[in-house]
């Protein structure tokens, strides 16, 4: 290697580490923002940083978080899933209603089976029939809500004997001092993070989301991959329904309404691109927690709950704008 080449290699290597620091900072921009927010909130409310409040926030965020883990996989695969909200209503109403009729074990099995079937419908339409995921899941959002209303006859459902069932474990129980919803969220997140970053399956999903055509040209079964992401998403929704149904021990027939947007908000806040092919479960976990603290902080400061809609999405627009501004700057300073 000539000395000129050596210098060049060294320079290039330096470039990478420097770019690494920069991209780290820009990736952590949202985290810095988050810490600032925490400081502000803790100024206004003494409870905010108390241990019990933090545990409450994490516990409340876990339902959104569990769903967001699944939807993140769909998004990395290059698609969207907006049907998770009414799918959550469906699964929760189902498990609560069946609890007294066929017993908790059977109710849970039935709920998982039927929810996975809905996921399979999404997966077949989008994966194998190659329909647009935005349209299909938007349609499924309404269709499933309709199904729930037909099933429940418009009535809310609840469990008669709320104290005498082990079903309460999923929403109200603790293991080693950790709330079961949080535990479930954590386990699912770790599991899917490992799947996405360490397995061939995860690599294929990233490839399909990054460039579907090149994935097909590499011998990857794209249709199956897309199909499977919707099964994962539905599975996560079923887990969330388990927690939600068990915590409330009853269900309104539109209990999941709006969850699809909260889930998306968490994912975007975390920094996973909606374009597919990039992102991670960790980012989503962070995003969902940020979302939870924003909501909680505003409530503690005495603002009515609907202010969080405005604040959350204004922050999202800000985050997206910051990210874009960053990318533009990078485009201008490096050769394209």
């Amino acid at each position: 290697m000539s000395s000129a080449e050596q210098t060049k290699t060294r320079l290039l290597a330096g470039n990478v580490s420097k770019a690494g620091v920069m991209s780290f900072l820009s990736a952590q921009g949202i985290l810095i923002f988050f810490l600032l927010g925490m400081v502000v909130f803790s100024f206004f409310s003494e409870q905010f940083l108390s241990q019990s409040n933090i545990m409450t926030v994490v516990r409340q965020a876990s339902i959104i978080g569990i769903i967001a883990v699944g939807v993140t996989v769909v998004i990395i695969g290059g698609n969207l899933d907006l049907s998770v909200g009414s799918m959550l209503s469906f699964a929760t109403v189902l498990v609560v209603d069946l609890h007294d009729k066929i017993g908790p074990t059977n109710a849970i099995l039935m709920m998982f089976a039927l929810t996975l079937m809905l996921g399979a419908v999404n997966g077949i339409l989008i994966g194998f029939m190659r329909l647009n995921s935005l349209i299909v899941t938007l349609a499924m959002l309404s269709i499933i809500q309709g199904l729930v209303l037909i099933y429940s006859g418009g009535q809310n459902v609840d469990i008669a004997n709320q104290d005498g069932t082990w079903f309460a474990f999923f929403g109200r129980g603790y293991v080693l001092g950790i709330a079961v919803p949080v535990l479930l969220f954590g386990l699912l997140a770790i599991l899917m993070q490992i799947v996405m970053s360490r397995t061939g399956y995860g690599r294929r999903i990233f490839a399909v989301g990054g460039n579907p055509m090149a994935a097909v040209y590499s011998g990857i079964r794209k249709n199956w991959c897309v199909f499977s992401t919707y099964l994962i998403s539905a599975f996560c929704v079923a887990c969330a329904a388990l927690v939600l149904g068990s915590r409330v021990m009853g269900s309104q027939n539109n209990v999941g309404q709006g969850y699809e947007l909260l889930v998306l908000a968490g994912i975007i806040l975390g920094g996973t691109s909606l374009l597919g092919g990039a992102g991670s479960i960790w980012k989503t976990v962070i995003g969902v927690l940020i979302l939870g603290f924003i909501q909680n902080g505003l409530l503690l400061m005495g603002y009515p709950y609907y202010t969080q809609w405005i604040v959350t999405w204004v922050i999202i627009i800000l985050a997206v704008w910051l990210d874009l501004a960053n990318k533009r700057k990078r485009l201008l300073t490096t050769h394209s």
């Binding site: 990478v16 397995t199 460039n211 055509m213 097909v216 092919g277």
Partner: protein, 519 residues
């Protein structure tokens, strides 16, 4: 059919003061010096070819010239005046236009709207002056001698015609310097003369042309002078009529390039692939040929003749309505690319960026994408196995990347192509299909890829090469299959075929009695 290496140009240099002068241009990017004190000038009415391998800094230099990048040092002097272009629009108004490699047209708009995009003629009330737009467009189309109309939709035009629209854009502001960056990369041989005519007529009007290309024949045909960049450094300028290909190549890569025609594989085994009367509706018909172990078969034809589609059908991407694909003695019927890969077929596709690579993924991950099961156990990726696969091909093919973590989108065309080839070699295929393996790649990488393909065939691979470049087909193939309009028109011996016969076979001349393809 050895390409003439002593080729030299006829055009005498034009003696005039330069219309444009770049002096001591230095451009640094974080960590890299992309251009180091480069000098360059263009005289009015001349075609000045700019050569260099991928990554030598040609595109960066032109981006500095056209205002996309700003130089850290150096001066740009246009018509005796020092300029500092802040953006491409600024440069364009001053008369410096870059014709893009990638076309940046809006397919849903008409020719006129595209040409005047961003500078539509207006009348009072800020309304578009459609009449003036039409007249101005017609004037431009006339100078370019275009056969299409101002109100044709750009999306309906062929690639060559789209390029004319792109050139038309340059003529909106009276240009003084026009830069063509790889203008013929997507043109077929019979579309090129139209482009040459346009360049000549621009020259006659006193416009200075900068012409970037990898194709020596074009450069020697068109240019008055040739300048060469190597690793961001200016290596010199020569008059085209006083130089020859060897000298220019030496300037580019620092050594002389030996095209070794005697090194074709000679030892063939049994049939690896056999196509029997393969037909895909409305695309190609009755295609039959075979590829033996250790043999390189070239598939030559114009764009649109159905060559890539034949490859896609073998690879399981299209379903034939009739005929058979026989691989290694067995009739196969692939429903998906997954089946084809599993059966031992590898396809290096025509379009690296859309079909070959996941641009946002790093080099290593792209390299192992077609053989994930070989670098994982129980579904889990083995990082060390992946690294050793990457290291193996990185070394064997001399891929230039700072690290395996580099996103492939940041690599030059030649290195990207090597990654795609490495990806397929690691699947240890029985049949390797290469579709336009060296399109848009610099001469150095091109020669390396050619040598590699020959070595692969000698080690027993059956290789099918699809190409629109005659020297490539002639230089590589043991046999050549000529296609025209969805049919195999002839099969030739790669060593004894004449260029004339090949051209006739792929342009449909003398096809009244198509030569039956021998199986």
């Amino acid at each position: 059919m050895t390409p003439v290496h002593a080729r030299t140009g006829q055009r005498q240099p034009i003696d005039a003061d330069p219309v444009l002068k770049l002096e001591g241009i230095t451009k640094r990017f974080p960590g890299v010096v992309a251009l180091n004190k480069v000098d360059f000038d263009v005289r009015p009415g001349e075609v000045h070819a700019l050569l260099g391998e991928n990554g030598a800094g040609k595109s960066t230099l032109m981006k500095v010239l056209a205002g996309k990048h700003q130089a850290n040092e150096g001066r740009i002097i246009l018509g005796g005046e020092e300029m500092a272009f802040e953006n491409p629009k600024h440069a364009k108004r001053a008369g410096v236009v870059l014709i893009h490699q990638e076309q940046s047209l809006v397919p849903e708009m008409t020719v006129a709207e595209n040409i005047f995009l961003g500078s539509l003629p207006k009348k009072w009330g800020n309304r578009v002056d459609w009449r003036k737009l039409r007249e101005d467009t017609n004037a431009i189309l006339e100078t370019l001698k275009c056969s299409f109309q101002h109100d044709d939709l750009v999306g309906s035009l062929s690639i060559a015609k789209k390029q004319m629209v792109e050139i038309g854009r340059a003529l909106v502001f009276t240009p003084r310097v026009v830069v063509f960056d790889e203008p013929t990369a997507s043109l077929t041989d019979h579309e090129k003369p139209v482009l040459y005519d346009v360049i000549h007529s621009l020259c006659e009007q006193g416009v200075g042309i900068v012409y970037i290309s990898h194709r020596m024949d074009e450069i020697f045909h068109l240019s008055h002078r040739i300048s060469v960049l190597r690793d961001g450094e200016y290596t010199g300028t020569v008059n085209t009529c006083e130089t020859h290909e060897d000298e220019v190549t030496r300037m580019m890569i620092g050594r002389s390039l030996e095209l070794d025609h005697a090194s074709k594989p000679t030892d063939f085994g049994e049939n690896m692939l056999e196509l029997r009367n393969l037909t895909v509706k409305r695309i190609f018909e009755d295609v039959s040929f075979n590829v033996r172990k250790g043999e390189i078969v070239g598939m030559y034809g114009l764009v649109g003749a159905g060559r890539s589609e034949v490859a896609e059908t073998i690879f399981g991407l299209r379903t034939p309505v009739a005929g058979e694909v026989v691989l290694d003695g067995e009739v196969v019927n692939f429903r998906s690319t997954h089946d084809a890969v599993a059966a031992g077929i590898a396809l290096v596709p025509e379009d690296r960026k859309d079909q070959g690579l996941i641009l946002g993924m790093n080099c290593r991950d792209n390299m192992t994408l077609a053989s994930l099961s070989s670098v994982s156990s129980g579904g889990f990726m083995k990082g060390s196995a992946e690294r050793s696969v990457y290291d193996k091909y990185h070394q064997a093919m001399k891929i230039k990347t700072p690290s395996w973590r580099q996103k492939v989108g940041n690599l030059s065309g030649g290195n990207q192509q090597k990654i795609v080839i490495g990806k397929w070699l690691h699947t240890h295929p029985k049949l390797l299909i290469l579709d336009e393996p060296t399109r848009g790649i610099d001469v150095g990488s091109k020669a390396e890829i050619h040598a590699l393909v020959k070595d692969l065939a000698k080690s027993g691979y059956a290789v099918l090469v699809i190409s629109s470049e005659m020297p490539e087909v002639l230089g590589l193939s043991n046999r050549i299959i000529a296609m025209y309009d969805g049919r195999v028109t002839a099969e030739f011996d790669g060593d004894s075929v004449s260029e004339d016969a090949l051209v006739q076979a792929i342009t449909g001349m003398g096809t009244s009695a198509p030569a039956a393809a021998t199986a």
